[in-house]
């Protein structure tokens, strides 16, 4: 099983809540794409057949149809991509047109994650998004028409001033389109974003925990009524439509990250590339790699991280596969925190599997705090 992530660090403008590595589109684009392919080629030797490929950003659909084709064709040349691979690309409703949708389908992209965020135009403009609700529906049908059968829709909730009604409406509009997968993200105020600054200046107001939970509960209810399985804290899927790529992250398995700011987890180390696209290009051209940090995770920490990641999933941690992977029993790895956490009602343990309780899911950090050494 090999998972590859590819980062396209360009956007038309910066959204005020965003802390991803992304810069305004500029003429470094072509050198960047070339550098990406070089990096992919270099790493290919160490890889077996690629089972999931995820092109994220930034805004991958900012690329012209020609460039999308060029990139995917070159990736196929240098990487051994399995015919059954899940190939996902993140799409932005306003930069997606019929030509791009067709190119995606033609180059083998079989899953698209559509950044809808909201179906309320006022919320969209507050979030700094360029598109409007109508664009989401339009983009969605373009993708379907092009033959993309697996589409995920991203939504954001707990936007300041967001009403319960508008959230219900966004969920209903999303469900109406019948996507295979829905991600609902609680708006967070990340360091060095404009929203955090506005929050600190008191110019915008964060919802209370109770307010956030209320919206979350509404999502759970609406989406499960519509037949979606709530399989990860923020993710919902129709049967068989979980994100195979993201499952790799949540299982703490190995993956290769390519491009600026991309992170790889290989051989027990987490390897991070330089963040800025220019720095990435320069490093690739001059020294042939763009690594800026290598963190070796000691085996016991690998085990702990795996538990913490797996507890994000509804499935939780299975004791047999855990013991098989780390050579230590789950109970031993957790020590006394297991009984503490079951006692607090945050975890459920039936002797075979440990899962987060409904309460524990919202308190995943509290669980992690108690599990970390």
């Amino acid at each position: 099983m090999t998972a590859v992530y590819l980062h396209i660090p360009y956007c038309t403008s910066k959204c005020p809540y965003c802390d991803f590595a992304s810069v305004p589109i500029n003429d470094s684009l072509d050198s960047y794409l070339r550098a990406l392919v070089v990096e992919a080629e270099q790493m290919s030797a160490t890889l077996s057949s690629v089972e999931t490929l995820y092109v994220g950003g930034g805004t991958p659909t900012i690329l012209s149809p020609g460039r999308i084709r060029w990139l995917l064709e070159h990736l196929r040349e240098v990487l051994d991509i399995s015919p059954l691979a899940e190939i996902t690309l993140e799409a932005n409703p306003c930069s997606l047109d019929a030509a791009k949708a067709d190119v995606l389908a033609a180059t083998g992209v079989n899953r698209v994650s559509l950044g809808a965020q909201s179906f309320d135009d006022a919320e969209l403009s507050f979030l700094g998004r360029q598109h409007r609700a109508v664009d989401v529906a339009r983009a969605f049908s373009l993708l379907r028409r092009a033959g993309i059968e697996n589409i995920s829709v991203d939504l954001i909730y707990a936007i300041p001033n967001q009403s319960v009604e508008s959230w219900r409406n966004s969920l209903a509009r999303a469900v109406e389109m019948e996507p295979e997968h829905v991600s609902t993200y609680c708006l967070t105020f990340e360091p060095a974003t404009r929203f955090l600054k506005l929050l600190e200046e008191g110019k915008i107001k964060k919802k209370s925990d109770e307010g956030e939970l209320e919206l979350y509960e509404i999502a759970l209810e609406t989406l499960s009524d519509a037949g979606y399985e709530h399989y990860e804290i923020s993710n919902f899927a129709l049967p068989g439509r979980r994100s195979r790529h993201n499952m790799v992250y949540w299982s703490n398995e190995e993956y290769l990250g390519l491009g600026a700011s991309a992170v790889s987890y290989l051989g027990g180390s987490r390897i991070t590339n330089l963040r800025g696209p220019q720095a990435y290009i320069r490093a690739m051209e001059t020294r042939g790699d763009a690594v800026c940090e290598i963190e070796s995770i000691p085996p016991n920490m690998q085990a702990i991280e795996t538990i913490i990641q797996r507890l994000r999933l509804k499935d939780g941690v299975d004791s047999d596969s855990f013991a098989g992977r780390f050579g230590i029993s789950l109970e031993k790895a957790l020590g006394s925190s297991l009984s503490d956490l079951t006692g607090l009602g945050l975890l459920e343990w039936d002797g075979q599997t440990i899962k987060s309780s409904a309460k524990g899911w919202h308190l995943a950090n509290e669980v992690a705090l108690r599990i970390l050494p």
Binding site: Y185, L213, Q309, L344, L346, A364
Partner: protein
């Protein structure tokens, strides 16, 4: 050297009026210190004192001065502590002198401690030489300040010297005036020994060292001596005088200032204000004015990290070697674990010690809110002084309670009289007197419970008078008071370190404020936390902290795992610094909350 060539003097001033700076200039002008050794403010030896501009330990130095009359003089400069917490030490230092330089800042004019110190000096019949300092300042108001000196303090404006300690202006004139106006010491060399102890230090090689002023007789090595109040006996090992270092001499005679090293183990053996006399030929009467100093303000100090107890103990030990007015003893709190109850002369003294512990010994401390000594009269007719609110006996055994009172002197411009009186009466003050010293200065006196004055009174006073008022105080004893113990409960169990003793009329408001404050300070926990304020069995205020229901990272993909783990590790570090009380985690600032509400 005959007595008529000796002058013993000190400098008295309100804090920051330039005492230490002037002392340095005097050392410089008399070439007592090679210029390269002269750091800023030599007499203040500790960094922290230099930084905060407070002289804590009185020190002394002897300088040689050739006066304009062509004669050589010995001038003993005795430094006095500059803060109201140390007024007893000031008094004792004054006892070693015949004259005092009264330093007044040219821009600030006469302040509460100027007045208090001037009264102390004139009570002792010291010759007072008024000096207006900082005349170099653009906002110096020399004429106005001169007027204040005559009108308020009652000194003759003729003798006022204008100076700038900073720029060395007026220093020669000051020295001349000392020689001319301060009387030489009296005393009888042949009478039985009487030496006043006005300070002490601890030296790790020599042990405890007493600073003395010989009043009568003579003290020399080999002599058997007796301390009259403490009744300890010693054999003198060495006597000497103060230069920049201590210089041994054959003997110290009546009128001289110097040090005595005997087999005194700790400075606790040496009581400031005590009289040393000859064991074989004792004086019939000790020198006047000795009284034991007792700490009045207390707080609990606990290591933030439970492993730090031993380090804290040895740090306290080392600090107390040089500060006999600082007391500590072990105590255990169910909330905070093992720590110490520490006693101080006053609030500033407490702050200085806390800071010194954290800085010099690299300790992180959890300090409980300061409290005062309460005197508890029990139904069996006995009384006891308690330093810790949690040590209060059963209400049924208490006959009545007393609390310490201070007599506060507040000097303020007249426009703030209303504000000052409002503040004092809100602190249960009893008005004594409002006295117009002159059209710009009003002296307001209140009797105030000390417990109210430790509650950020000084900061409030400064703020309601836009910084213009100054404060001085003295203890006036214990008074009966309607006090109750206010307990704070978390999920039903009392937190001993948060208990406080308050006046009955204030219990409700304080309880409410405290509960509100704690609600803001305590983080949400995994369960509901009930905060209650109670007097006896009666709950007078209640707040609840809703349980934490959400602490989760919404997005966690490949690039986030390490970063998010680090974030949680930081949260975990923060959690470690919390104190666990029952099942509730309390941040350290909760223990100071009792103190910081208004």
């Amino acid at each position: 050297m005959t007595k008529d060539k000796i002058r013993n003097f000190c400098i008295i001033a309100h804090i920051d009026h330039g005492k230490s700076t002037l002392a340095d200039r005097i050392l410089e002008v008399t070439h007592s210190i090679p210029a390269r050794d002269l750091r800023e403010q030599t007499l203040d030896t500790l960094d922290i004192e230099r930084e905060r501009g407070i002289t804590i330990k009185a020190a002394a130095i002897r300088v040689d001065y050739k006066a304009s009359d062509g004669q050589d003089y010995f001038l003993n400069l005795i430094d006095t502590p500059g803060h109201v917490d140390f007024s007893y030490e000031v008094t004792r230092s004054l006892g070693a002198c015949e004259g005092a330089l009264l330093l007044v800042d040219a821009s600030q004019g006469v302040q509460a401690q100027t007045l208090a110190n001037a009264y102390l000096a004139s009570d002792r019949n010291l010759e007072i030489i008024p000096v207006i300092n900082k005349i170099d300042l653009p906002n110096a108001r020399v004429d106005e300040v001169k007027e204040q000196i005559t009108e308020i303090i009652g000194l003759d404006s003729e003798g006022v010297i204008l100076a700038s300690a900073k720029n060395g202006i007026g220093v020669e004139e000051i020295l001349e005036s000392i020689v001319k106006n301060v009387p030489p010491p009296g005393g009888d060399d042949d009478a039985p020994l009487r030496a006043l102890i006005f300070d002490s230090v601890y030296n790790s090689f020599r042990g405890a060292i007493a600073y003395v002023r010989v009043m009568d007789g003579c003290i020399r090595p080999g002599q058997k001596i007796l301390s009259m109040a403490a009744s300890h006996k010693y054999e003198v090992e060495e006597v000497g005088i103060f230069r920049l270092e201590m210089v041994p001499v054959k003997e110290l005679r009546a009128g001289e200032v110097g040090y005595v090293i005997a087999n005194m183990k700790s400075i606790r053996d040496i009581k400031i204000g005590d009289t040393l006399t000859d064991e074989a030929n004792p004086a019939s009467e000790s020198l006047p004015g000795y009284k034991p100093v007792k700490p009045m303000v207390f707080c609990g100090m606990y290591p933030a990290d439970p492993g730090g107890f031993d380090v804290l103990r040895s740090s306290l030990e080392r600090l107390s070697l040089n500060d006999s007015s600082f007391h500590y003893e072990p105590e255990t709190s169910s909330a905070l674990g093992f720590g110490f109850r520490c006693g101080f002369l006053g609030l500033l003294h407490m702050e200085v010690i806390q800071e010194r512990l954290e800085r010099e010994f690299d300790l992180t401390l959890v300090t409980t809110a300061p409290s005062v000594v309460f005197r508890i009269h029990t139904t069996d007719g006995k009384f006891a002084d308690i330093e810790n609110p949690s040590k209060m006996p059963e209400p049924a055994r208490i006959a009545y309670l007393e609390e310490p009172y201070i007599y506060a002197s507040i000097l303020t411009p007249p426009e703030f009289i209303g504000a000052v009186c409002d503040l004092c009466s809100s602190r249960r003050g009893e008005h004594k007197r409002t006295h117009y010293l002159n059209p710009q200065k009003v002296l307001i006196n209140y009797d105030l419970p000390l417990s109210e004055a430790v509650m950020d009174f000084y900061d409030r006073l400064k703020s309601v008078t836009r910084g213009y008022a100054s404060l001085d105080y003295e203890f006036v004893g214990f008074r009966q008071s309607d006090l109750v113990k206010l307990d704070m409960l978390l999920n039903g169990s009392p937190v001993d370190a948060l208990s406080c003793i308050v006046h009955k009329d204030k219990a409700y408001t304080r309880g409410k404020q405290l509960a509100e404050k704690l609600r803001k300070i305590i983080h949400r926990q995994l369960f509901e936390v009930a905060i209650q304020a109670a007097v006896g069995n009666r709950v007078i205020a209640r707040e609840t902290i809703k349980p934490l229901r959400k602490n989760v990272i919404a997005k966690c993909y490949g690039g986030d795992i390490t970063r998010k783990r680090k974030l949680i590790e930081r949260q975990k570090e923060g959690k470690k610094r919390m104190k666990q009380v029952g099942n509730v985690e309390l941040p350290q600032e909760a223990f100071m909350a009792v103190f910081q509400i208004e």
